[in-house]
C-alpha cells in the first residue's frame, strides 16, 4: 500500500528526484556536477520554494509600504485649466471658490461648481448627499466658500470635466466669507459676483418664458431679482405662489449678477430654507398672472 501511495504522491506532487537525477531535466546524471544532457548545474540551484515565499512576503510587505506611502503622501493639486485627456481617472486635489451648489434630495446627490481661477470644475457626489450633510453639517459648501476637494477626475464628452468625491473628509472648507447684508440701492458694478443677504418688497412682476423678474424695493432704492422656473420647482408650492405677489417681502441669500449689461440679483440655493424667506403682504394685493 505504501508503494502505491508513493507512486500516487509522486504523480500529485513535483517529482521527488534524488541527487543522481538532474533537477532540471529529470534525467540520470550519476555523480556529475553538471548535467550532461541539459548542461544545468546540480550544485548552484535555488529552490522554487524561495520564490514562492518571496511572492507571498513581497506582496504583504509591498502592500504595507504602499499603504504607508499613500497615507503620508499629499494628493497633488491640479488646476482646472491644466487638465487634459491624460488626467482622466487621476485622483487630484482642487482648490477654489464655489460658484454654485445644486442638490437633489431624491437622488441623494449634489453638484458643486468650483472656480479655481484657471477654469471651472464640477465636483459631484452620487448617492452621497446625506452622508456629506451629516458629516460636514454647517460646513457643507455654499456659494462663495473657498474649498479644497480631492476627487477622481472624469473627463467625458457628455459631462465635460468632473471630479467625483468619494468621502466627505475629502472636502474641506478653507474659508467662508462673512455674508454681508447689502441694501438694494447701494449695489454697484463693483459688487458683481458678491454673495450677500438682501431683502425687499416686490413692487413689480414681469414674467418671461423661463421665469420672471421681480422688482424689489427697500428704503435705499430698487433692484431686479431674476427667478427661473427651474429654481421655483425646487421650492415648496406655497412659496412659489407667494413670491410673485406684489407687496410680498423677500429675504434671501443672493448673488449680484449681470445680464445684458444690467445688474440683477439671482437666488443662491433657494431650496435651502435658510436662504429664502417669503413673507406675504398683510393684506392681499392683486398680482399680474405668471405664465
Amino acid at each position: 500500500m505504501d508503494r502505491i501511495a508513493d507512486v500516487i504522491m509522486s504523480m500529485a506532487n513535483t517529482p521527488n528526484i534524488d541527487e543522481t537525477h538532474c533537477p532540471g531535466c529529470g534525467r540520470f546524471v550519476g555523480p556529475y556536477d553538471t548535467c550532461p544532457h541539459c548542461q544545468s548545474s546540480l550544485r548552484h540551484r535555488i529552490s522554487l520554494k524561495v520564490f514562492r515565499w518571496i511572492a507571498v512576503g513581497g506582496s504583504i510587505i509591498g502592500l504595507i509600504i504602499l499603504w504607508i506611502g499613500l497615507r503620508i503622501q499629499e494628493v497633488p493639486l491640479l488646476h482646472a485649466g491644466q487638465i487634459d485627456l491624460q488626467h482622466n481617472m487621476a485622483t487630484a486635489r482642487f482648490e477654489g471658490k464655489v460658484i454654485s451648489v445644486s442638490t437633489d434630495d431624491k437622488k441623494n446627490s449634489f453638484r458643486i461648481t468650483l472656480d479655481d481661477g484657471t477654469g471651472l470644475i464640477m465636483l459631484m457626489g452620487h448617492g452621497k448627499l446625506s452622508v456629506f450633510r451629516k458629516v460636514l453639517g454647517d460646513t457643507f459648501p455654499r456659494p462663495g466658500d473657498t474649498i479644497s476637494a480631492v476627487g477622481n477626475i472624469s473627463y467625458s464628452e457628455n459631462y465635460g470635466l468632473t471630479a467625483f468625491i468619494a468621502s466627505p473628509r475629502r472636502l474641506t472648507m478653507l474659508s467662508r466669507d462673512e455674508v454681508i447684508r447689502k441694501e438694494l440701492g447701494r449695489i454697484t458694478r463693483e459688487d458683481i459676483g458678491l454673495i450677500g443677504r438682501f431683502d425687499g418688497t416686490v413692487v413689480e412682476v414681469t414674467p418671461f418664458a423661463k421665469g420672471m423678474t421681480l422688482r424689489l424695493q427697500d428704503p435705499s432704492g430698487q433692484q431686479q431679482l431674476t427667478v427661473f422656473h427651474s429654481e421655483l420647482k425646487r421650492l415648496e408650492d406655497t412659496r412659489i405662489d407667494q413670491i410673485s405677489k406684489i407687496g410680498t417681502t423677500v429675504r434671501f441669500l443672493g448673488r449680484v449678477d449681470v445680464y445684458r449689461n444690467e445688474i440683477q440679483l439671482r437666488l443662491v440655493e433657494p431650496a435651502d430654507p435658510g436662504n429664502l424667506d417669503v413673507q406675504p403682504p398683510a393684506e392681499p394685493v392683486s398680482a399680474p398672472p405668471v405664465s
Binding site: 502592500l63 499613500l70 485622483t91 487630484a92 477626475i153 473628509r169
Partner: protein
C-alpha cells in the same frame, strides 16, 4: 462617400495595427489603445473624429481574434482568459496548437456573427434589463465573488501519509487562492482610493497593476519553465461537430454576456459561471466558447455604450474601451449600424489574418525558443510602465507582480487576481466606499 472611405480605411488600419500588437505576448491592447488616444489628441487630424470609434473598435476586434495565438502557442493569457488557457496548452503539447488556435478563432468569428445579428435585440432589451439589475449590481457582484471562491473548494487528491499531508494537499490551492484574492482585493481598495501614479498618467493608472498581476508573473512562469514546444501540425480542418458549435455558442454567449455587462467580471470568470450553468465538458467546447466569450467581453461591452435610450440616456458604458474613449466620444444610436458593420468587417479580416499569423508564429517558434520572446517582452513591459507611469508605477507593478506570482507558484486560479477590481467595485456599489476609505485612513 468620402466619409465612408475614411471610415473603411481606418477600420482596416485598426485591424492591422491590432493584429500586430496582439502577437506581442503579454502586451494588452488597452495599454496601447490608451497611448494611441493620447497621441491622437496631440496630433489632431490624423484620425478624423468620425473614424475614431471604428478605428479603436477594429483594434480591439483584431486583438480578440489574434491574441489567441500567443495565448495558445506560448501560454500568454490576458486577464480575460487566465482561467481558460489550459485546454489550449493541452492541444499544444499534443502538436495540435494550430488547430486549437483556429478553434478559438472560429469561436471569435461566431461571437462576431452573434453580435451582428443580436445587437438590435440587445439594443431594445438591454436598457430594461439594466434598469432592473443596476440597483442590485453590488449583490450580483458579491454573488459572483462567492461563487468564484467556492468553485475552487477544495482541490487536491486527499492523499498523503499523514492527516496533515492530506489536509495540506487538499487545502493548499484553496488557501493560495484565498490569499491571492484577499491581497489583490486590498491592493484594489488602496489603488482605487489613491494612487502613487502621478495625475499626469491618470489615464493609465491601473496599467502597472494589471501588468504586474497578469503579464509579469506569466512571463516569469514561462521563463522558469523548461518545457519545449513539440513540433506542431498544420491541419487543414478543425475537429468540431455541430453539437460542439451549438453548445459552445450557448456557453460562450452566457459567459461573454456576463463579462460584457457585469463590471470587473472577465470572460474567464464568466466562463467558470457559464461552464457550470451549461454543465457540458470538453476541451473543444472550452476553446470555442472561450473565443466567443472574448469577443463579447471586449467588443460587446463597448457596443453597449450605444444603447442610448430614454431609459439609459448615457448608454450602458462597459469595458475598458468605453473608459478609454469616454473623454472624446459621444455615442449616438444611429451610429450603431456603422459599428456593427465595422466589427463584421474587422472580425472577418482578423479571422483571415489568424490563419497565416498562426502558421508564421509556429514557424518562428520552431526556430526561436519562446524564452527569447519573453526575454524581449519583459523589458518592453517594464520600459512601458516606467515611461508612462514613472518609477511610482514601477513600484506598484512590483507589488502587483508579487501578488500575481502567488497563483503561479501555488497553482491556484489566476482569475483571483481580478479581486483588484471586483472587491472595490462591489463595496463601492454597496455603499461602503466611504467606510473603507476611513478604515484605510486614505480619506
Amino acid at each position: 462617400m468620402t466619409e465612408y472611405l475614411t471610415i473603411l480605411t481606418f477600420c482596416l488600419a485598426g485591424t492591422l495595427s491590432g493584429a500586430i500588437i496582439s502577437l506581442i505576448p503579454s502586451l494588452h491592447i488597452y495599454n496601447t489603445a490608451g497611448i494611441a488616444l493620447i497621441l491622437w489628441t496631440h496630433i489632431e487630424g490624423v484620425i478624423p473624429y468620425t473614424a475614431v470609434a471604428p478605428f479603436f473598435l477594429s483594434l480591439v476586434v483584431a486583438y480578440a481574434f489574434l491574441n489567441t495565438i500567443p495565448m495558445t502557442l506560448i501560454g500568454a493569457p490576458d486577464e480575460s482568459a487566465s482561467v481558460t488557457i489550459l485546454p489550449g496548452i493541452k492541444y499544444l503539447t499534443l502538436g495540435r496548437g494550430f488547430e486549437a488556435t483556429l478553434a478559438g478563432g472560429i469561436g471569435s468569428l461566431i461571437g462576431i456573427l452573434f453580435l451582428s445579428v443580436a445587437m438590435p435585440l440587445i439594443y431594445v432589451a438591454m436598457p430594461f434589463i439594466h434598469k432592473i439589475l443596476a440597483p442590485h449590481m453590488h449583490a450580483i457582484l458579491m454573488a459572483v465573488i462567492v461563487y468564484m471562491l467556492m468553485s475552487e473548494w477544495p482541490k487536491g487528491e486527499g492523499l498523503g501519509r499523514t492527516t496533515w499531508e492530506r489536509f495540506r494537499q487538499a487545502w493548499r490551492n484553496v488557501f493560495a487562492g484565498l490569499v491571492t484574492f484577499g491581497l489583490a482585493g486590498i491592493l484594489g481598495l488602496i489603488v482605487t482610493s489613491r494612487t502613487l501614479v502621478s495625475p499626469d498618467a491618470g489615464f493609465q493608472n491601473i496599467m502597472p497593476v494589471f501588468i504586474g498581476l497578469f503579464a509579469i508573473p506569466g512571463a516569469i512562469e514561462k521563463l522558469l519553465s523548461r518545457e519545449t514546444i513539440p513540433p506542431q501540425h498544420i491541419s487543414s480542418s478543425v475537429e468540431l461537430t455541430r453539437g460542439d458549435i451549438g453548445w459552445s455558442t450557448l456557453q460562450g454567449v452566457i459567459a461573454g454576456g456576463m463579462a460584457a455587462y457585469l463590471p470587473a467580471v472577465t470572460a474567464g470568470i464568466g466562463g467558470i459561471l457559464a461552464g457550470h450553468a451549461v454543465a457540458r465538458r470538453g476541451d473543444r467546447l472550452f476553446i470555442v466558447s472561450g473565443g466567443i466569450a472574448k469577443v463579447l467581453y471586449y467588443v460587446g461591452a463597448f457596443l453597449l455604450l450605444y444603447c442610448v435610450t430614454p431609459l439609459t440616456p448615457m448608454g450602458i458604458g462597459r469595458g475598458g474601451l468605453s473608459i478609454i474613449l469616454k473623454p472624446v466620444l459621444q455615442p449616438l444610436p444611429r451610429e450603431l449600424p456603422m459599428m456593427i458593420g465595422a466589427i463584421l468587417l474587422s472580425g472577418c479580416i482578423s479571422f483571415l489574418l489568424l490563419i497565416p499569423s498562426t502558421r508564421l508564429t509556429i514557424r518562428l517558434l520552431s526556430r526561436v525558443h519562446y524564452h527569447v520572446l519573453y526575454w524581449a517582452t519583459l523589458p518592453l513591459l517594464v520600459v512601458l510602465v516606467v515611461f508612462i507611469t514613472g518609477w511610482a508605477g514601477l513600484a506598484l507593478m512590483l507589488i502587483a507582480s508579487c501578488i500575481g506570482m502567488i497563483p503561479v507558484f501555488f497553482h491556484s486560479r489566476r482569475s483571483n487576481c481580478m479581486a483588484v477590481l471586483l472587491v472595490p467595485i462591489a463595496l463601492n456599489m454597496a455603499g461602503y466606499g466611504d467606510t473603507i476609505l476611513r478604515l484605510l485612513g486614505l480619506d
